[in-house]
């Protein structure tokens, strides 16, 4: 089992309102990482905040790992203060990532910072000769810094912003319903707010389309030891999965988001 517990920050910069991008080196982690997996970071090193913070792997390229994170509280705020050459206490890669299809027509739907795991996924999907369309939902055009990265890797990137400052005005799932011909898609991957993923799952189910989504839950250990990040995928399931260990990625049809 791969493991890493230290990295070195190479860059950490603001790329949008409350949106940050951090690059760090961690050789074993970069070597082992799969799209959809996450890292577990101890921010600050004091007793408060105490627990590590889980963040998706946004990209991996030549030993360099990139994270895309939104500053929403104390932990992510402290993370935004890290500077180049500072050591980073990071565990990972953790969890079960996306399965990687080959020679298919694939749709990626990301909402907000949920776009993060989809870049690394798209990179690996392109390597496997897939045709990839990315739909990204954001608040405004200031939050769409990842666009050029997707297009740079040869993916088709379409954007929906709530304020209409770029691309389609409105929900990314409305953009999907309007512009995506289900017959042109073989497989679908999604990550973002749960109502968005619910709409994507409904779209996939209606069109008999297989796919996968990535879930979030509060975490302590991140490795399946504390049983804290439990969730029932369907209300009728007898037992709880652990998001950190059994997921965070699950088949679309195994999850009932709104029970």
């Amino acid at each position: 089992m791969p493991a890493c517990s230290s990295g070195i920050v190479r860059s950490n910069k603001k790329v949008g309102p409350d949106l940050w991008e951090m690059e760090f080196t961690a050789l074993a982690l970069a070597r082992e990482a799969q799209p959809g997996q996450f890292v577990h970071i101890r921010v600050g090193g004091n007793q408060d905040p105490l627990l590590r913070r889980p963040l998706s792997i946004y990209d991996v390229d030549a030993g360099l790992i990139t994270l895309l994170y939104k500053v929403v509280g104390r932990g992510t705020e402290i993370l935004s203060l890290y500077s180049s050459d500072q050591p980073l206490d990071v565990m990972g890669p953790l969890g079960k990532g996306f399965s990687l299809v080959q020679d298919r027509r694939v749709l990626l739907v990301g909402g907000g910072v949920g776009i993060a795991p989809l870049l690394f996924l798209g990179r690996e999907l392109k390597v496997r000769n897939n045709k990839v369309i990315v739909l990204h939902g954001a608040g405004s055009k200031e939050e769409t810094c990842s666009g050029p990265k997707f297009t740079g890797l040869g993916m088709e990137y379409r954007i929906a912003t709530m304020d209409g400052s770029l691309g389609f005005k409105g929900l990314v799932t409305d953009l999907m319903e309007r512009e995506i011909d289900p017959k042109s898609i073989d497989y679908i991957y999604t990550c973002g707010p749960e109502p968005m993923m619910e709409a994507v799952a409904a779209f996939a189910a209606r069109n008999n389309m297989p796919g996968e989504l990535s879930l979030e839950e509060y975490m302590a250990c991140g490795v399946g030891a504390c049983l804290g990040c439990a969730r029932k995928l369907k209300a009728s399931d007898p037992s709880y999965v652990k998001i950190c260990h059994d997921g965070p990625v699950f088949p679309l049809d195994s999850v009932n988001i709104a029970p």
């Binding site: 791969p2 101890r42 105490l50 509060y218 302590a220 804290g228 709880y240």
Partner: protein, 305 residues
Amino acid sequence: MGLVDMSVNLGGLQMQNPVAVASGTFGYGREYQSYIDIRKIGAVIVKGTTLEPRCGNSPPRIYETPAGMLNAIGLENPGIEVFLQEYLPALMEEGVTIVANIAGNSVDEYALITRIIDNHSGIAAIELNISCPNVKQGGMQFGTDPRLVRQVVEAVKQETRLPVIPKLSPNVTDIVSIAKAARDGGADALSMINTLMGMAVDIDRKTPVLGNVFGGLSGPAIKPVALRMIYQVYKEVNLPILGGGGISNTRDALEFIMVGASAISIGTGNFVNPSLAQEITQGLEKYLLEQGLAQIHDLVGAAVQ
């Protein structure tokens, strides 16, 4: 190194060093295998186990608090038989010192689980969870009533020759009377403390945060309470103590030893730093060398007046 003797005999539980990992925070050992050499841990106390499988509480089960966390896992576990058949063999192969942690709904159930464990090899000692605050029918009543504590310990002792280590609940007025009851029931050592019952509120939704409403507080926030209780019990009860509650570094571990703990356990600290047990073991060894002491035992209770 090797000039100091790190081994500890905790009421018959032979440990190669005084640092254990606490029940429920280290899974079944395997989860952390790529972050720490589990063979070097003094004892791995596995997740609380019940007679029947339990699916645990509804989420959210955990929540971070200042220098601590709340948990209400609800003793999710596969049941004693599955634990022994499917989880234990892998740990035994590693040569780890394994302590079972058991919980029951009745005195008979504690006795029955103990009998099952006693008929099986591979377990070095039994920690009795009489203090888990999460399961409504489970722990709480046992750990807060001295008569019940004595009854449970007696019943368990009759079923096994393994060392029996009751784990005391801090959610009591008089910890010393509980510790005495455990001793009178035949306990070989005491483990303390389990989590302190607490809660958190989501003011946006106007609801408790945890699915179970209440949860157990652990981590650095509870360390002063743990130290105080161990100090009190050490003075009054002549049993070795496995001390824990918020230990995050070697200095913390030394505090516990100096108030009377013969060995220590690390719980929440594992989540923050998975190799903490090993780091503290090395830290303690270094401290002994620097102080010119031959064994941990020479420090136990050093701060008790």
